[in-house]
C-alpha cells in the first residue's frame, strides 16, 4: 500500500496545475446546458486545447496513475467536463485502442483525441435494454459492406455525433450472444435518421436512431464478425469501470460548494443535515480510494477494468443521487428553480442508476462474476 506518487508524477501534476490555472480563466462562458450544438462546440474546443497542450493522450497512453492525477486536477480546478466527448474518449476510443487494428486506431483515435470527431453509443434498442444481447438491428453482408436496418434508442449525443459505436446482429441464426458484431458507423451515412428525444430534464440529450439500409464498410468492424459481444464487454467494462472516475472528484468539489452554501444560508446549523453532508463526504472520499484500489489492480493485471467497476458504479450512482437530495435540502425553495445548475443536475442524476446498466443489472454482475452465485433468471 503506497498512496504516494512518484516524483515524475508529481511533476506532471504541478505542470498540469499551472497550465490549468493559466487557461481556465480564459475560457468562454459555458453554453446553455440545453443547447447541444453549442455544447458540442464548447466541449470539442476544450478537448482541442488539451490536445494542443499535450494532455489529450493521458486517456490511453499515460499510466493509469497519471490518468488519475489528470482527472483529479482537472476536476478540482473545475475544468470543463468531457461532455460530448464522453463516448469517444471514455469507451469507444479505449475499445478501439484495445481491439482495433493498427489502421483502425490510426483512422479514429486522433480525431477523438483532437476533439474533431464526436462519438455516440448505439447499443440499446426499444426491445433490448438490460437484455442487450437480444438486440435485433440486422446487418447483411453485401460485398465489402454491411447493410444495416433497425432502430436504436436513448442514444446520447446522437444529434451532434459524427460516429456511432453500433451493435448489430450479423448472424440471426446463432445463439443470441454469438451473432453480434461491433461496427463504427458514420452518422452522415444515407439511411441514418436521428430523432431527438426529450429527457425528463427537458433537454434533448439522447435520441432515437432509425437505420434504413445503411451501408457500412466491412473495414469498420472492430473485432471479428460475430465476435461483437466480447468486444462489447470490453466497451462496457470501460464504461462502468473507469468512465466515472473523474466524476467522483467532481462530487467532492460539489460537496465542498454545498457546505459553503449551507454555512452561508444557515442550514449548516441543522445537525441532521450537517451530518448527512459529513456522511456523503466520507462516501465520496472512500469512492476515490476505491478507485485508486481498482486502478492499482488493473495496472498490475494489465488493462481492461474487471467486474470491480460494477462495485464502484453501484455505490457511486446512489451516492451521487443522494448528494443532489442533500443539495435540495440545503437550497430549500431554490431547489425548485430550474434556473439553478443544482436543479438540472438533480434531474440528470436520476439516470445514474439506469444508464450504463441499471443497479439491478450491476448487482447481478457482482453476485455472479465476483461472488460466484449461480446465474438465474
Amino acid at each position: 500500500m503506497d498512496l504516494a506518487h512518484s516524483e515524475e508524477e508529481e511533476e506532471f501534476r504541478a505542470r498540469l496545475r499551472e497550465w490549468l490555472a493559466a487557461v481556465l480563466p480564459t475560457l468562454p462562458a459555458r453554453p446553455d446546458p440545453l443547447d447541444w450544438p453549442a455544447r458540442r462546440a464548447y466541449d470539442c474546443g476544450w478537448q482541442r486545447r488539451l490536445y494542443d497542450a499535450g494532455y489529450a493522450d493521458v486517456h490511453w497512453d499515460a499510466s493509469p496513475t497519471q490518468r488519475l492525477i489528470f482527472l483529479e486536477e482537472t476536476e478540482l480546478a473545475g475544468a470543463p467536463y468531457v461532455g460530448a466527448n464522453f463516448v469517444g474518449l471514455l469507451h469507444a476510443g479505449p475499445t478501439i485502442a484495445a481491439e482495433g487494428t493498427a489502421g483502425q486506431r490510426d483512422r479514429w483515435l486522433p480525431g477523438i483525441l483532437r476533439g474533431d470527431e464526436v462519438w455516440c453509443q448505439g447499443f440499446s434498442e426499444p426491445e433490448a435494454g438490460s437484455d442487450l444481447a437480444s438486440l435485433r438491428t440486422r446487418a447483411v453482408r453485401d460485398g465489402d459492406a454491411y447493410v444495416v436496418s433497425g432502430q436504436k434508442i436513448w442514444t446520447s449525443h446522437a444529434e451532434v455525433a459524427d460516429w456511432c459505436e453500433l451493435l448489430v446482429r450479423t448472424d440471426p441464426t446463432a445463439s443470441k450472444h454469438r451473432g453480434i458484431s461491433w461496427l463504427a458507423m458514420p452518422m452522415d451515412a444515407p439511411g441514418v435518421t436521428v430523432r431527438p428525444l426529450r429527457t425528463l430534464a427537458g433537454s434533448t440529450e439522447f435520441a432515437e436512431m432509425f437505420l434504413d439500409e445503411v451501408r457500412i464498410p466491412v473495414g469498420n468492424r472492430v473485432g471479428e464478425e460475430n465476435d461483437g459481444w466480447r468486444v462489447t464487454m470490453v466497451t462496457l467494462s470501460f464504461e462502468r469501470g473507469t468512465a466515472f472516475v473523474g466524476e467522483v472528484v467532481a462530487c467532492r468539489r460539489l460537496l465542498g460548494e454545498l457546505a459553503r452554501t449551507a454555512r452561508r444560508n444557515g442550514t449548516w446549523d441543522d445537525p441532521v443535515l450537517r451530518r448527512r453532508l459529513g456522511r456523503l463526504s466520507a462516501e465520496f472520499q472512500a469512492l476515490w480510494r476505491l478507485t485508486q484500489a481498482n486502478v492499482s489492480e488493473a495496472q498490475a493485471t494489465g488493462g481492461v477494468p474487471g467486474a470491480g467497476g460494477s462495485v464502484f458504479k453501484l455505490h457511486y450512482s446512489h451516492a451521487r443521487q443522494e448528494l443532489y437530495e442533500a443539495a435540495a435540502a440545503v437550497l430549500g425553495p431554490d431547489a425548485l428553480d430550474l434556473g439553478r445548475d443544482w436543479t438540472l443536475d438533480r434531474l440528470s442524476s436520476l439516470s445514474y442508476t439506469i444508464a450504463a446498466g441499471t443497479s439491478q443489472i450491476q448487482r447481478n454482475i457482482v453476485a455472479e462474476r465476483i461472488l460466484g452465485l449461480p446465474k438465474g433468471r
Binding site: M1, R275, Q285, L290, V311, L371
Partner: protein
C-alpha cells in the same frame, strides 16, 4: 501509487489468519460463547503477545515488531473476522506505555463513550471508572460497564478531538469491523450456494443475490477507506473510515441473517455474534453521529 498490498503485507495477513485460526478457531469461539460467564482467555492473550500482535507497531529497539499502521490494520481485520474477544485495541494502543501490554501479560481496557469493556478482567483501566455499574451486555463476548455521567460528547467536535492515539484506536476498531463485514459476506455467499428451496439453491434467486452484492459493495468501500486512512493517518479520513466500517459490519451482519433465514436467528449460527459485536464496536470509538460531525467539519 500502488494501493495493493506488498508481498510482506500479504504474508503478514496470511500469517495472522493462520495464527488466529489456530488460537481462536470456530470451536474456541463457540466454547467461549457457551461458557457460563465471559472470561478472558489469558493463555490466548499471552500467545497473541508472543506473536507480536500488541507490539506490532513498537520500534524494534523497544522489543516491538517495528511495523506500521497499515500492518496493524491488516492484523485487526483478521481479529475482527474471527471475533477474537477482549480489549484488543486498548491493549495494542497501550503497548510501550503500559508495562506488560506489549507482551500480552497485561490486559488493558479503557473508558470509552461512557462504557468500559472487560472491566472486571482487565489489569489496567485507563480513565475514571468511579461508580461504574455492570450492564447485561448485548454481546455475549464483550462484558460492559456503564460509567455514570459520561455519555459520548455531543455537539460539533473539533477534528483535533481525534488525536493521534485516539485516531489509531478508532481506525483499528474500524479494521475489526471490516473483518467482520467480510466474514459475514463470505458466510452469506457460502450459505446461498448450499441452501436449497423451491428446487434450487437460494443463491440463484435474485432477491438473495442482490443482498449479497450489496454486502460486497459495503465491504469494498469500507476496506478502501480503512486501508487508505491507515496510510494517510488523517483524522478526517479515519473518522470517515470508521463510519463506513460500522455501516458495513452492522449492515452486512443483518443481511447475512436475512440470507440465513430461520437458521440465522438461532443461537447456533454465528451471525448474531457478528451483529452484536458490530453493534458494540459501532457504539465505541467515535460512533456514527460524531464521526459524521468530524467529517462534516472537514468540509
Amino acid at each position: 501509487m500502488d494501493f495493493r498490498l506488498t508481498e510482506d503485507q500479504r504474508a503478514l495477513r496470511k500469517g495472522v489468519r493462520e495464527l488466529l485460526a489456530r488460537l481462536f478457531g470456530r470451536e474456541a469461539l463457540r466454547a467461549a460463547v457457551d461458557a457460563p460467564s465471559p472470561s478472558l482467555d489469558r493463555e490466548l492473550w499471552r500467545e497473541l503477545g508472543a506473536a507480536g500482535f500488541f507490539a506490532l507497531r513498537l520500534p524494534e529497539e523497544e522489543g516491538g515488531v517495528g511495523l506500521g499502521l497499515p500492518e496493524a490494520v491488516l492484523a485487526f481485520e483478521e481479529a475482527g473476522r474471527c471475533l477474537v474477544p477482549g480489549p484488543l485495541v486498548a491493549t495494542h494502543v497501550a503497548a510501550g506505555a503500559v508495562p506488560g501490554a506489549a507482551e500480552g501479560s497485561t490486559v488493558v481496557t479503557e473508558v470509552d463513550e461512557g462504557l468500559v469493556p472487560w472491566l472486571d478482567e482487565a489489569d489496567v483501566v485507563l480513565g475514571d471508572v468511579a461508580g461504574a455499574a455492570p450492564m447485561r451486555s448485548v454481546d455475549p463476548l464483550t462484558p460492559l460497564h456503564r460509567v455514570p455521567g459520561l455519555v459520548g460528547t455531543t455537539g460539533v467536535p473539533d477534528t483535533a478531538d481525534v488525536l493521534p492515539a485516539t485516531g489509531v484506536a478508532v481506525l483499528l476498531t474500524a479494521a475489526e469491523q471490516v473483518g467482520s463485514a467480510a466474514a459475514t459476506t463470505e458466510m452469506a455467499v457460502r450459505y446461498a450456494r448450499e441452501r436449497e428451496q423451491f428446487g434450487q439453491v437460494i443463491g440463484g434467486f435474485q432477491a438473495v443475490k442482490h443482498l449479497c452484492a450489496g454486502m460486497l459493495v459495503r465491504v469494498e468501500l469500507a476496506r478502501a477507506a480503512v486501508w487508505a486512512a491507515s496510510v494517510t493517518a488523517d483524522p478526517v479520513e479515519i473518522a470517515g473510515a470508521k463510519l463506513l466500517a460500522d455501516e458495513a459490519a452492522t449492515g452486512n451482519a443483518r443481511d447475512c441473517l436475512q440470507v440465513y433465514g430461520g437458521m440465522g436467528f438461532t443461537w447456533e449460527a454465528d451471525v448474531h455474534l457478528h451483529l452484536k459485536r458490530a453493534w458494540v464496536r459501532a457504539g465505541l470509538r467515535l460512533p456514527a453521529a460524531r464521526a459524521e460531525e468530524v467529517v462534516a467539519a472537514g468540509l
